[in-house]
């Protein structure tokens, strides 16, 4: 049964990717990308990777198509048919890489085997001892936020860097973080969508908080929560226009929050340094090691959530400001 689902999902993935090559026109490509994201998220669920599936659904099927669509609104949806295109070289390169990859799989442990080396060395400790050492059921969160917390700090920094980079690239001349003016434009109103969204947005934000603080017990955590929170705000912005969402959450505040999230994470780690323990060692936070882990994980997940939400909102602001500039 599981095999059947696997094969169905994989063949749908292949079909999506092939049609992406065949299709011209960017809007259709973006829809296919979104479908690809959703399909791979479903595939991750069948592979037991629920946290990853959650993230991929939010990112691959949500945020990245949104950003792509906003870009296409700026640059146009036409993908031109090239006059002459050499496909021999790309084909050769892809074939060589593909063959090398397939050769690489030949000595891999077979799919699904329980005695693969990856399950013998480092991972067993996470599965067997994280219950006592960290004290939370979601092993992925334990590894993410404690054993390999430094990687996650890097991840937050990557997101922060992306926010800084997008502002730096897209900043309109002469203003940083200023609120765009209304310019008296009338947005096309859509009563049904507006009313329904108005009802749904509070629940989206509430759901984000649930995901934020429930990450220790089930799939979820700071990153997913941040994405959901940001999408609530972005929905509001799409419906009521950039100026009104900027009045609710001004751009300078969002930028500052992005930096504060990173600082919250990093300073939680620095606390340990002051006590002479290694960076990111949570045991200084409380006398009981499990409580300390819990406190540390909650603090850094909050930092992740704040930074992710603010950076995604910032990126949305930057693109939306360009859009309204272009429409003028």
């Amino acid at each position: 049964m599981e095999l059947l689902v696997d094969i169905a999902l994989l063949s749908m993935l292949v079909a999506t990717a092939v049609s992406l090559i065949l299709v011209r026109g960017l809007v259709a490509s973006i829809m296919l990308t979104s479908i690809y994201g959703l399909l791979s998220a479903s595939f991750f669920v069948t592979m037991d990777a629920v946290d990853v599936a959650f993230t991929e659904a939010a990112v691959g099927a949500g945020v990245s198509p949104l950003l792509l669509l906003m870009t296409v609104a700026l640059v146009g949806r036409v993908e031109q048919q090239p006059r002459k295109r050499h496909i021999a070289f790309p084909l050769l390169l892809v074939t060589v890489t593909g063959v090398l990859l397939i050769v690489g799989t030949l000595d891999m442990p077979p799919f699904g085997s329980a005695d693969a080396p990856a399950l013998q060395h480092v991972a067993p400790r996470y599965l067997q001892q994280s219950g006592e050492e960290i004290g939370i059921p979601n092993v992925v969160t334990s590894v993410l936020a404690s054993y390999r917390a430094y990687d996650t700090l890097g991840e937050v920094l990557v997101i922060f860097t992306a926010g800084i980079a997008v502002i730096l690239v897209l900043m309109l001349p002469g203003r940083r973080g200023s609120v765009p003016d209304d310019a008296g434009r009338q947005r096309p109103r859509n009563v049904v969508v507006n009313v329904v969204s108005k009802i749904l947005i509070p629940f989206m934000l509430l759901f984000a908080l649930y995901v934020q603080f429930h990450g220790e017990y089930g799939p979820g955590g700071g990153f997913q929560a941040g994405v959901i929170f940001a999408s609530g705000i972005i929905l509001y912005g799409l419906l009521y226009g950039l100026p009104s969402v900027c009045r609710v959450i001004p751009p300078p505040v969002v930028e500052a929050l992005a930096a504060l999230g990173v600082l919250l994470y990093a300073l939680t780690g620095v606390l340990a340094l002051l006590d002479g323990r290694p960076f990111l060692d949570y045991s200084v936070l409380a006398t009981d090691p499990v409580t300390a882990q819990y406190l540390g994980i909650t603090a850094i997940e909050l930092g992740v959530g704040v930074t992710v939400a603010s950076v995604i909102i910032t990126i949305f602001y930057a693109f939306a400001a360009h859009l309204s500039e272009a429409q003028r």
Binding site: G104, A118, D151, I164, A165, P173, R175, E255, L263
Partner: protein
């Protein structure tokens, strides 16, 4: 606090970047960024001194022991790279304010500095970590900030250069990710030392072979080794001057460090040479890079682009050193890594000072500038001489070690080719000298350029002079780079013995 020294060169810029983002006044951000860079530099020097005395330092992040948690493992090689990168960052920030202010609009300045600090944090993180996946994460921090920094160049071509760099850099990073995945599936660990212990048993495995190839190709993309260098000339040419100085002096050096780390410590030499004809590949690509890069450099109408192609050639020399595959060869590569950062730092820094005056780096704009900016151009000349490898400069030392290393393997053709490559360097440096000192100045278009003598602003000039003098200093007193390099090379080889 001394026991936390391994983390400080990374932690300081990492903490500094978000704080810097909170500062809105560009001058305040600049002062803060300078402080952070200098503190980082100081920490890196202290760390280098400590590794010199105590050998390898291990630091378990989060308090979790090595294969389960992430480990920082600092040996002499890490210490050398950390010091080099943070030193160049301090030099660029301290001296480059005038240039950054000139080339970046006011509202972008403080964010430019934030991106700069992020880039520094990323590069330092790559150079310090002992965990393969952590390396990937910090690689992406440095790459993303570099794309943004390149895109701030004034020319619209900077945007295209940044985009091309983004595509090629991401392909490279994804290849590295594939490679790390393969070796993780085989060994079950991500810690580099742990990998090094487990991989020798797997020399026959095709998965390990494929993983190794993907990592090497990915790193070579980042390193801009010929023929994967296509992103480099555009990025160096169109980025703003200070970004070029910093990138040329550090980014490719860190990539070379990663190449050495993976092919010598993680995969061990026996594996590397067994799995791939690595020596032949590196020697061939290195020598082709030297000639292709130098020949193209000769014909560039723009000095900045010429020096960028020269970087492609110089990377070739370093890769030859790696490809020789002996202790002396590796030592030569590392010495050149250090010295090349000084040469290109001096050259691009002096060029930035000139660009500050005349607006661009085209040869036609540089005619006769030597009479107007004698001191700056003297720095450029020193950097150029060092690039050729004239005795008495740092460049001579690294060429010397390289030639000795190759001669030691009795590959006389290669020795001849390396010397011929130096001649090509002399050709394009001569072209520079001819234009700068013998050319007749044309009409200049920069508004505030006074006639007659007009040196660059003091900061730019001072740093140019310091870097140029460093080229001379390290041409005589070779202890620091040579001893650090030989120590690092020996420890890499010692680790390679079972």
């Amino acid at each position: 606090m001394l026991s936390h020294l391994p983390i400080l060169p990374v932690l300081l810029p990492l903490l500094g970047a978000p704080i810097c983002a909170l500062l809105r006044k560009p001058v305040a951000a600049w002062l803060f960024a300078c402080t952070v860079a200098l503190l980082t530099f100081a920490a890196a020097i202290a760390l280098l001194a400590q590794t010199w005395q105590q050998g390898v330092l291990s630091y378990a992040l989060g308090g979790w022991a090595a294969p389960w948690g992430i480990e920082y493992r600092i040996d002499l090689l890490n210490g050398l790279v950390l010091t080099l990168v943070s030193g160049m960052a301090s030099a660029v920030l301290l001296g480059g304010r005038a240039s950054i202010w000139r080339e970046t609009p006011e509202e972008k300045r403080s964010l430019f500095l934030v991106a700069f600090l992020l880039c520094l944090a990323g590069l330092q993180g790559i150079a310090a970590t002992g965990d393969a996946f952590n390396l990937f994460v910090f690689l992406e921090i440095s790459s993303l900030s570099t794309y943004a920094l390149v895109a701030t160049g004034r020319d619209r071509r900077a945007l295209v250069a940044a985009y091309n760099y983004l595509i090629m850099g991401t392909i490279g990073a994804t290849f590295i990710l594939i490679g790390i995945g393969f070796i993780y599936m085989l060994t079950g660990t991500l810690n580099m030392m742990d990998l090094a212990q487990r991989l020798p048993a797997l020399t026959e495995s095709r998965t390990a072979f494929a993983g190794f190839v993907f990592i090497i190709v990915g790193v070579c993309l980042k390193l801009a080794l010929f023929p994967l260098h296509l992103w480099l000339p555009g990025a160096y040419t169109h980025a703003s001057s200070m970004v070029t100085v910093f990138l040329a002096a550090t980014a490719t050096k860190v990539a070379l460090y990663v190449l050495i780390r993976f092919s010598f410590s993680v995969f061990r030499l026996e594996f590397s040479t067994l799995a791939l004809p690595l020596e032949t590949v590196f020697l061939t690509l290195g020598i082709v890079a030297v000639f292709a890069g130098s020949l193209v450099a000769i014909y560039q109408p723009d000095l900045k682009r010429g020096l960028a192609y020269s970087s492609v050639a110089q990377i070739g020399y370093m890769v030859i050193g790696v490809g020789v595959g002996t202790v002396i060869g590796l030592q030569a590569a590392l010495v050149h890594l250090f010295n090349h950062a000084l040469m290109k730092g001096a050259l691009f820094m002096a060029l930035a000072a000139v660009v500050y005056r005349v607006g661009d780096g085209k040869f036609s704009s540089l005619r006769g500038i030597g009479r107007e900016m004698p001191l700056t151009c003297a720095c450029m000349l020193l950097g150029g001489l060092s690039l050729i490898g004239v005795p008495g400069t740092a460049g001579f030392i690294s060429k010397w070690y390289l030639v000795v290393a190759v001669a030691d393997r009795e590959q006389w053709v290669l020795v001849a080719l390396i010397l011929a490559g130096s001649l090509l360097t002399a050709v394009y440096i001569w072209r520079l000298v001819e234009t700068v000192y013998l050319g007749v100045p044309g009409p200049r278009q920069v508004p505030d350029s006074p006639a007659g003598r007009a040196e660059a602003p003091p900061g730019l000039l001072a740093v140019s002079v310091v870097l140029a003098l460093a080229n001379v200093y390290f041409g005589f007193d070779t202890r620091l780079p040579v001893e650090a390099a030989s120590g690092a090379a020996e420890s890499l080889f010692a680790a390679g013995q079972p």
